[in-house]
C-alpha cells in the first residue's frame, strides 16, 4: 500500500501575540510546528505502515524552511519527503493551494491520501476536500478512526456533532484526520540523525503540470480585502468585592438586564 500524507508547517497560534500599537501579528519568536491534525494523520499512516507494510510519502507546500517538518516526519518513520515550493505558488488561497497539491499528487502513486482536517493558522478545513475533487477521489473528513481490510477497503469512523458515522470506501480515496484521532509518536533519536542524512525532494512549478492561471495569487478566487485586530468592546465595570457583596452585584445587574 502507498500512502501520501499532506502536512503543513504552521505558526503555533497559541503563542501569537498582537502588537497593540499597530494591530499586527508579532511573528518573531513564534515557533513553527507541524500542524496538529496533520500529525494525527501521519501517525495513522505509520500505524498502517506497521500493520500493512505501507510506504509513506510526506508532501508539503511552503517556503524552503518547511523542510524541517518533512525531516520531523521522516524521523517519525516516513519513507519519502517532497517539498513543493515555487514563487508561483505564493499568495494562494485554499483553492489555488489545492490545485498545486493535486498537481503534485497526480505525479505520484497512492492508495490513500491523508490530510489533517484543518490547519491551526487558517482553520478552514478546505484543502483536503478540494484536492479530492480535483483528483476525482471519494473523501471522508473528520476522521476519528480508520482500518484497512488488507485488500482494498477502508472502514472509516467520521466524527459528527451527535456521535459518528461508520463508512466504507475503496482505495484510492482521501481522508482528513483529527489530531485527537491518534497520539503522535515522538521522533526517534536514530531517526533524527537519519532524517538529516536523507534527501528531501524539491519540486516546483515545472514538475506539476498545472496551468499557471490556477496557481498562487492569480489562481485564487478569494482575496483578503483587509486584516485587522479585533476591536475590543469597551470594558464594563470591574468590582473587587467580598463574595456576599459580589453576589449582590451580579444579581442586581442581571435583574437590570431582565435576564433573571
Amino acid at each position: 500500500m502507498k500512502i501520501i500524507v499532506c502536512i503543513k508547517q504552521v505558526p503555533d497560534t497559541t503563542e501569537i501575540k498582537i502588537n497593540p500599537a499597530t494591530g499586527t501579528l508579532i511573528r518573531e519568536g513564534v515557533p513553527s510546528i507541524m500542524n496538529p491534525d496533520d500529525k494525527g494523520g501521519l501517525e495513522m499512516a505509520l500505524e498502517l505502515k506497521e500493520k500493512h507494510n505501507a510506504h509513506i510519502t510526506v508532501l508539503t507546500m511552503g517556503p524552503p524552511q518547511a523542510d524541517s517538518i518533512l525531516r520531523e516526519a521522516m524521523s517519525m518513520g516516513a519513507d519519502r519527503a517532497i517539498l513543493l515550493t515555487d514563487k508561483r505558488f505564493a499568495g494562494a488561497d485554499t483553492l489555488a493551494t489545492s490545485h498545486a497539491l493535486a498537481g503534485a499528487l497526480r505525479k505520484l502513486d497512492f492508495d490513500l491520501i491523508i490530510t489533517g482536517r484543518q490547519a491551526i493558522d487558517g482553520d478552514t478545513a478546505q484543502v483536503g476536500p478540494q484536492i479530492a475533487e480535483h483528483l476525482g477521489l471519494p473523501q471522508v473528513t473528520y476522521l476519528r478512526d480508520l482500518s484497512f481490510d488488507g485488500n482494498k477497503t477502508f472502514t472509516l469512523t467520521r466524527e459528527t456533532e451527535e456521535g459518528y458515522q461508520l463508512l466504507e470506501a475503496d482505495a484510492p480515496c482521501l481522508v482528513t484526520v483529527l489530531a485527537s484521532a491518534r497520539k503522535a509518536r515522538y521522533m526517534r533519536v536514530r531517526g533524527i540523525v537519519e532524517a538529516y542524512s536523507r534527501d528531501v525532494e524539491i519540486w516546483g512549478f515545472e514538475q506539476i503540470e498545472v496551468n499557471e492561471e490556477f496557481l498562487g495569487l492569480k489562481g485564487s478566487p478569494t482575496q483578503v480585502k483587509k486584516a485587522f485586530a479585533k476591536d475590543m468592546k469597551s470594558p464594563g465595570s470591574v468590582y473587587e468585592a467580598e463574595p456576599e457583596e459580589a453576589v449582590g452585584i451580579i444579581i442586581s445587574k442581571l435583574k437590570e438586564k431582565f435576564i433573571i
Partner: protein
C-alpha cells in the same frame, strides 16, 4: 464568467433525520438582510428524502423561493450525492451568494462544491455584509482568532461562505409570508458516490447544544476540579442554563469537547455568559465575545476576560458560585 447572470442569496438547508438544523434558519435570517440590501431573492435549497413538508416553514423564516431535491440518495448525508445536487442547483439557478452552515456536513460539502465550481469559499465567517461594489464581504477570524480578515470573491460565482451555528440570528417566523416552491430531479451519477454509509451512531454527548443556550455558565482553569465544575452545574440547574467550558477543562478531562467554547470549540452568543475562572485567552474570546451580556469572575485582576466583560468580579469563583446558587434558590 458573466457575473451579472448570477443573482439571489441561496442557503443550503441542512437536515438530519428530516429535522431542519437551527443553523440553516439562522442563515436564512442573514440571507434576508443581504438580499434586501441587494434587492434580490432569498432561495432555500432543501435536500433530503421526504422533506418537502418543511418548505413552507422555510418561507415563514425568510425564504422567497424553495428549491427542493427529494430523493432516497439524499436521505443521509454523504459527500457526493449532496455535491451533485448542489452543483446541479448552481448550474440551473446561478446563485450570486451561497451560504452553508459550518457543521461537519457543511464543512465537508462546501469545499468539495467550491472546487467543482472553481469558485471561492470562506470558512467560519462571523460577519457578512454587502460592500459598496455589491460584493459580499466575508469577515472571519484568522491566526487562531488573533486577527480578523475580510475576504472578497470578486470574479467568481457563487460567492460561498460557511457560518458556524449560533453566530447569526434567525428571523421570527411570519406565517403570512408566501413564496414559490420548485421541485427538481437530480440526474445522479451513482458510479461516483464512492463512500458507503454503514451506520450513524448517536453518542450521549449530543444531548446538549451549547450554541442554542440562552444562559451559559462557563468554567475555566480557575474552577480547578471536577467538584468545582459540579458547582457550576448546580447553578445552571437553578438558572435553567447550560454549562460550557474553556479548553483548560476539556484538556483536563473534566468535560468534553462538545462543551468547549472558543476557536477550536464552539461559537456562542447567549443572553448571558457567566465566565467562571476563565482568564480569557484570545482563542476563548473568539468564541464568546458576541454574547449579549458577559459576567466574569476571576481571581486575577489583570485577566483579559475583564476586557470583554460587562460586569467583572475580582474574586474566588469557588466561593462566589455556591453563594450565588443559594441566593437564586430563594
Amino acid at each position: 464568467m458573466n457575473k451579472e447572470s448570477y443573482t439571489g442569496v441561496y442557503v443550503f438547508i441542512e437536515q438530519r433525520e428530516g429535522q431542519i438544523q437551527m443553523v440553516s434558519l439562522e442563515l436564512l435570517g442573514k440571507a434576508r438582510q443581504l438580499a434586501d440590501t441587494l434587492n434580490q431573492k432569498v432561495v432555500a435549497v432543501l435536500a433530503g428524502f421526504h422533506v418537502s413538508e418543511h418548505a413552507l416553514s422555510l418561507i415563514h423564516c425568510g425564504a422567497d423561493h424553495i428549491v427542493v431535491a427529494d430523493a432516497p440518495e439524499l436521505e443521509h448525508y454523504t459527500t457526493e450525492p449532496y455535491a451533485q445536487t448542489l452543483a446541479r442547483v448552481i448550474d440551473l439557478y446561478k446563485p450570486s451568494i451561497l451560504l452553508i452552515g459550518a457543521t461537519t456536513i457543511g464543512r465537508d460539502l462546501g469545499p468539495r462544491l467550491s472546487a467543482r465550481c472553481q469558485t471561492g469559499l470562506t470558512a467560519d465567517c462571523t460577519r457578512l455584509e454587502i460592500g459598496d461594489d455589491s460584493h459580499l464581504l466575508m469577515t472571519r477570524p484568522a491566526f487562531g482568532g488573533n486577527l480578523m480578515a475580510t475576504i472578497v470573491c470578486r470574479e467568481h460565482r457563487p460567492q460561498m461562505a460557511t457560518v458556524r451555528p449560533g453566530v447569526m440570528r434567525r428571523c421570527d417566523p411570519d406565517e403570512k409570508r408566501t413564496g414559490k416552491i420548485d421541485k427538481i430531479t437530480i440526474p445522479f451519477n451513482h458510479s461516483k458516490f464512492g463512500v458507503r454509509l454503514i451506520k450513524t451512531v448517536k453518542e450521549s454527548k449530543g444531548k446538549t447544544d451549547i450554541t442554542q443556550a440562552r444562559i451559559l455558565i462557563s468554567g475555566g482553569r480557575g474552577v480547578g476540579s471536577a467538584e468545582g465544575f459540579e458547582k457550576l452545574k448546580e447553578l445552571a440547574k437553578v438558572l435553567k442554563a447550560e454549562v460550557s467550558a474553556s479548553r483548560a477543562l476539556v484538556d483536563a478531562g473534566i468535560t468534553d469537547h462538545n462543551h468547549q467554547v472558543g476557536q477550536t470549540g464552539k461559537t456562542v452568543r447567549p443572553d448571558l455568559y457567566l465566565a467562571c475562572g476563565i482568564s480569557g485567552a484570545i482563542q476563548h474570546l473568539a468564541g464568546m465575545e458576541e454574547s449579549d451580556f458577559i459576567v466574569a469572575i476571576n481571581k486575577d485582576k489583570g485577566a483579559p476576560i475583564f476586557q470583554v466583560a460587562d460586569v467583572g468580579i475580582v474574586g474566588d469563583v469557588n466561593r462566589i458560585i455556591p453563594l450565588l446558587t443559594e441566593r437564586m434558590k430563594r
